[in-house]
Structure formats: C-alpha cells, structure tokens
Symmetry: C2
Subunit: 411 residues, 2 copies
Amino acid sequence: MIIFDNYTPVDGGVCAANGFTAGGLCAGIKQGSTKPDLAIIYSSVDCRAAALYTTNKVKGAPLVVTKEHLKNGKARAIIVNSGNANTCNANGLEIAEKMCEITARELRIDPDDVIVASTGVIGQPLSIEPFETHIPLLATELTRFGGDRACLSIMTTDTRQKQFAVEFMLGGKTCFLGGICKGSGMIHPNMATMLCFVTTDAAINAETLDKALRFVNGVTFNRVSVDGDTSTNDIVTVLANGLAGNTEITSEDSPEYEAFVGALYAVMVNLARETARDGEGATKLLECIVSGASTDTIAASVAKSVIGSSLLKAAIFAADANWGRILCAIGYAEGEFEINKVAVRLQSNAGEISVCAGGSGVPFDEDTAHEILLEDEVRILVDLQSGDCTAAAWGCDLTYDYVKINAEYRS
Amino acid sequence: MIIFDNYTPVDGGVCAANGFTAGGLCAGIKQGSTKPDLAIIYSSVDCRAAALYTTNKVKGAPLVVTKEHLKNGKARAIIVNSGNANTCNANGLEIAEKMCEITARELRIDPDDVIVASTGVIGQPLSIEPFETHIPLLATELTRFGGDRACLSIMTTDTRQKQFAVEFMLGGKTCFLGGICKGSGMIHPNMATMLCFVTTDAAINAETLDKALRFVNGVTFNRVSVDGDTSTNDIVTVLANGLAGNTEITSEDSPEYEAFVGALYAVMVNLARETARDGEGATKLLECIVSGASTDTIAASVAKSVIGSSLLKAAIFAADANWGRILCAIGYAEGEFEINKVAVRLQSNAGEISVCAGGSGVPFDEDTAHEILLEDEVRILVDLQSGDCTAAAWGCDLTYDYVKINAEYRS
C-alpha cells in the first residue's frame, strides 16, 4: 500500500534535493534552433543509482553505455541532449562514451559514474563536436537553481516543462525528492517514451532503490500512452546521494521504505500525468480509473486499453460522449471478465454522469455529458463489478495537431 | 502454398457466383440520411456456410444470433444493416432474431438459415420498425445485379465500394467466387473491423470451408490495421452453394482444395487491401512486406507492427522518409530477432530506395525518397536477414481527416 499523504510539494525540481546542481544551454544540436539542448545534472557526492530502460529491441546507444556504467549501482552525473536520439547511428556508442568522458573530465569524476541519455530524431548522424565545445562551458554553470534550465534543455516536441519535487520525512530527517522529465510523442508502455531523471538526498541502497523504482514505474509511466509507439530511448533514473542523513533504507522491510516509495510515487505520478497531458497535439488529459477488477493485471489492462483507443481519443477531442467506443476498448483488453457487468461513468470538474450499466447503455443527457467532456481533465470511471482491484492509466485526446506535429517532425 | 494465378477477375461482386441475388435500399436506419442502409444477399439453394467473428469481449447482438444459426454449417440468406451496430442494447438479441424472422418469412426459408449482421454506432437504441417496413420490400427487389446495391448499403464511413470477384476452375468446372466488404475505421487484427460477405458456387463441405476461411483470413484481414481498435461487430462469412457442379471438396487433401483457397485468397486479399486503402481519412495504402524472418509468426508480427505505428503513419502522410520510426516499430514487434541485421527499403511506382542496412542508417537522397512516398501506394520492404519466412500487412497513413471523421462521427 502506498502512503500518499506524507509529503509536501516544493520548488526546485531535480535540484530540490541537497547536493544536486544542474544546468542547460544551447549546443546547436537542434539544428537551426537557439533552444537549449544540452543538460547536466550533478551530485556533489556519490549516489546510489537505479535505472529502467526501453523494452524496444532498438536501443539508443546512450542506453547501452548507461546500462554498463550503472552495473555497480553508483553514479554522480547525468549528461543529456535533445535534438538527436543518437540511435541507429554507426558511431553511436563511440559518441555516447565520448560524451561521458568529456563530462567526467570537466567534473573531475570517473566516466563510469556518468549517465548519458539522448532524445530526438532517430538515425540522424551526430558529431561529437558540439559536445567537445559546450560540455566544458556547461560544467562551469551548474547551480542549485539550474533544474529549470535542465528541464528546458531536454524538451523536444514538449510544450510544457515537466518537473515536480516533494519534501518528506524519513526517521525524523527531512528529505527531498524531485525530478524532471520529457516526453510528448512516441509514448507507450512499457515504458512511456521519455527521459525521466529523479534525484533525492534520502539514503537508500542501490538494490532497494531499484525495487522502489520498478514498483513505482509500473504504476506511473507504464500506465501512460500517447500514441502506442514504444520509443527506442526511454530511460528513467533515480540518484540518491544520502545527504539527508537518514538511516539508510536497506530493504523493503525497512520501516521507512513505504514513506520513500510514497514520495517517489508522488513525483513520478505527477510527471507521468503531465506527460500524458502534454501528449503531442493534446488538448485534454484523459484519466481512466478502473475498479472492481478481480486482479491488478486486469484492472491495468482495461485502463490502458481505454486510454489507448484512437477512436475514443478522437471522440474525446470533440467532447462527444460516444461511450460505445469505451466499451469497445474495454472489450478488447486482455484478461477474463464479464462484459455484462461493466458500468461506465464520465467525470470532470463539471460533474459526473453514468452512461453504461450492466454492459448496456443507460439514458443520459447528451448536453450534460458534453459539458463534462469539455473540461481539460476528463476521467473515465470503469467498474468491472467482479472484484476489489483497481488501476489508473493516463492518456490524451487525438487531435489534428498530433498529425500535424508528426507529419512535419523533421521539416 | 497458395496458388495465386489460377483465377480471372470478373464483375458482379457478391452476385458473381451462380444462384446468388442481392439488393439494398434505404430503410431510414442512418438517421437523417437517404443513403441505402439495408441489404439482403440470397442463394436460390442451400449453402454450406462458415464464419469468423470479432475477438472483442463486447459482441454485437447479431453475431450471437448468427453464431447460433451457423451451428449446422448451413445458410441461405444474409440480412445486414448499416447505421446502427445493434451492440450494447438491452433488446439487441430480440431485434437481431426478429430481423432473421422477417427475412425468412419474406424469402420463405427457415429463420435458422439467415445470417444477420449490423454495423454503425454502438449503444444506440434500435427499433424493429424500419425492418418490419423495409425487409418485405427489399425481398422483392433481389437480382443478379444487386451486388452493387448491397455493397453500397453496408458502407458507414467507407468512401469506396469494396467488392471483387473471380472466375476459376475446379476439376474442369467453371466456378465463381466473389465478395463485398465494408470497413474503414475501428480496423485492427484480429480481425480487421468489418463486415465481409463472400459467396461462391463451388461445392465444398462446411468443415473444409471453415478451414479455408480461417487460413485465408489469417493472412488477409488479420493483417490489416487502420487504427488499432478491434471492433465489436466484425464478421466474415462465406456461403458456398455448389451450383458450379464440381465434385465437392471434402478435405484439405482434396486435389482442388488449393485452387479453391487461391480463389478465396484472391478475393479476400483484394478486399483487405481496399479496406486499408479506404482507412478513415487515408490518402495512401501502406503495405509492409517482411522477408528473411525465422518464423511466419515473427514475419507477421513485424509487418503488423510497422503498419500500426501512428508516428510512422503520420510521417508517411507527409511523404517524409523518417525511417527511424520504421526501425522503432520493428524494434517493438514481438518475437526474437537481431535488430542489427535489419535492412529497410522504401518502394512505390516511383522507384525504390534503401534507407537502412545492418540496423543503421545508410546515406540516401531525401528528394528521391520523398518522390517515392508521394505515390498513393507505398511499400515498406523489411529484410530481417535471419530466415526464409515472409509476411505482408496493410495499413494507411494517419491524417487530419482521420481525426475529423472520428471527432464528428455522431454529429
């Protein structure tokens, strides 16, 4: 059980935790743009580190290098660029390794303690030159207030900065945990396509950190879909530097483990929801909450199926209560359940309405339903009426702009 | 092995085979429209019948009734409406049964020999009244030239009529096999969302007909995706009335079985391709041909993954050779294969170009690639270089109009 109420939101994003600095600048990787495209996140002391990677067989070269570097569960810095995914390039590994080397040299740390990530167009040649020139400059500009710049620098088609941080207590010590993330298109479990970097000053060992990350990722980023495309460059990392001074959490049985997971969940679920809200071309956040499932797996499968339906997403764009499409998407979710028991309600700040009960339509006022769906956060509540398990998933509407953005991505 | 060259295309669609008549008219089911929305297909003698149904847990009431009626592998007529899917309605079964009864009464056949199907909006109340009024009229209008009207009457968001028929030989006898289908949105294996009705005058027993249909459906409609949504009303049926006078095909080992399968494939692959081409809002037919796979399953999985990628489909709409998205989609296909061996070429009537070899990009002329992708039929050739198995799949581009059509479907 996750404890949801043990934290307070704070500013600072990825630099909210003690000992972390960051920065970002324009290195000219986004061609013809003056937007920042290179970021560093740095801890003044060694961190325990955990990471999760895309399940795509095509993996960006940076992921391969990062995986190698994190074998010892230890890291100090993250170097990340946008504008080029460094994926499917013949010299990709070489460039990713070189990015780590330059960063390590400038920060006077071990290259093996550097995490590297890239996002942008796949299969576009990338030269080491912008990194040679700009990493040294960037390394001198890292500050406690640089989380914002770092967050800006990892954006591609994102329209909003996505960052969140919380303060929480572990064994009487005040801790901070915060993160930034990017992701807008090519978003699908597992894992929602994105880069996500979380930092904390809590003390937790690498193995337990990995368990916490896997669990929380499973109920946050693995529950987000924008377009059903699983990217080649997904990575979620957490760095924990222990500066909060709490007694190190060394197992899931530790009394502080649940509080830590609660804080990690608070940050990651916020970032996951914001990623869905910022889906390419989206005008609405779509949240599906499934209850009454006989297993967690079925609950999650139904929730993901609903938020993944292109037809439903287009209807939601038009605020059209075409609930048959919800039932259709529930019907092709995996897992056994009785469709004849299913009840569906639509909910938003404008109200709530029942549209389906016992698997069949119920009379409802179309105008009221339309008002509910006009809001920019829409919830679809599905009750399977066959158990006690619940799950949530997040998506967005499908709009003209999704097509526009992706038809013109490289131009 | 399918024999592809033993048939000649002919006119007549679902009435090309001897003994079949059809017709269609406007029964007012499509509200506020004067388009035809009710069709009957009828055989002058008993037919062997086989059918396949949606895998969605939500099943249109007509499918439940049809399944019951086809238990004996025998049928004479098909009654079908568009404009309302008769799905998720409390009185759906009653209406579907009544549709069969009225049709049977008018055609003087057994209600159990009637196949019923519906397509359109899900969860919209449907009254028996339009059927009471119009089936008797329609039953008097069935002709050998009515295939066209029937084809028109089953369309919803379809923009083209989809019908095809062939002449072929079985044991020295001339046979005909033809079909009509509808499908444009909510198209995804299994099974491409649609209604498909095939008729033939070949003699084949029900069990063997069922086998042939399952096999051919697996490599045609199960390889089509428009939007990833598996519908609640998919049905494919074949009626075989035996009037061609060939010796009845009674097993897969029968010498004529392959020729029959070849003819069925010719018709169904044509209809499947046309369904993809007519995908909601589509401007292009997208065909992915995978070769060099170690198993048929992997070949099919890769082909379906490629044509299913929203990101790739948006890029194809803009004729943008963003091949990284092809590789990305290959990378999340199920099944084990080495991504580092993959080669990708783009092909159309305007030419062919290699864009990726050994899993990495190769230099190519963007203008040439753009020219190739501007054509209205685009092929993506993927060579996995790890075996001899091949597969094809069909989809379309993702356009503004897909969003427009689905945002406004009910208005």
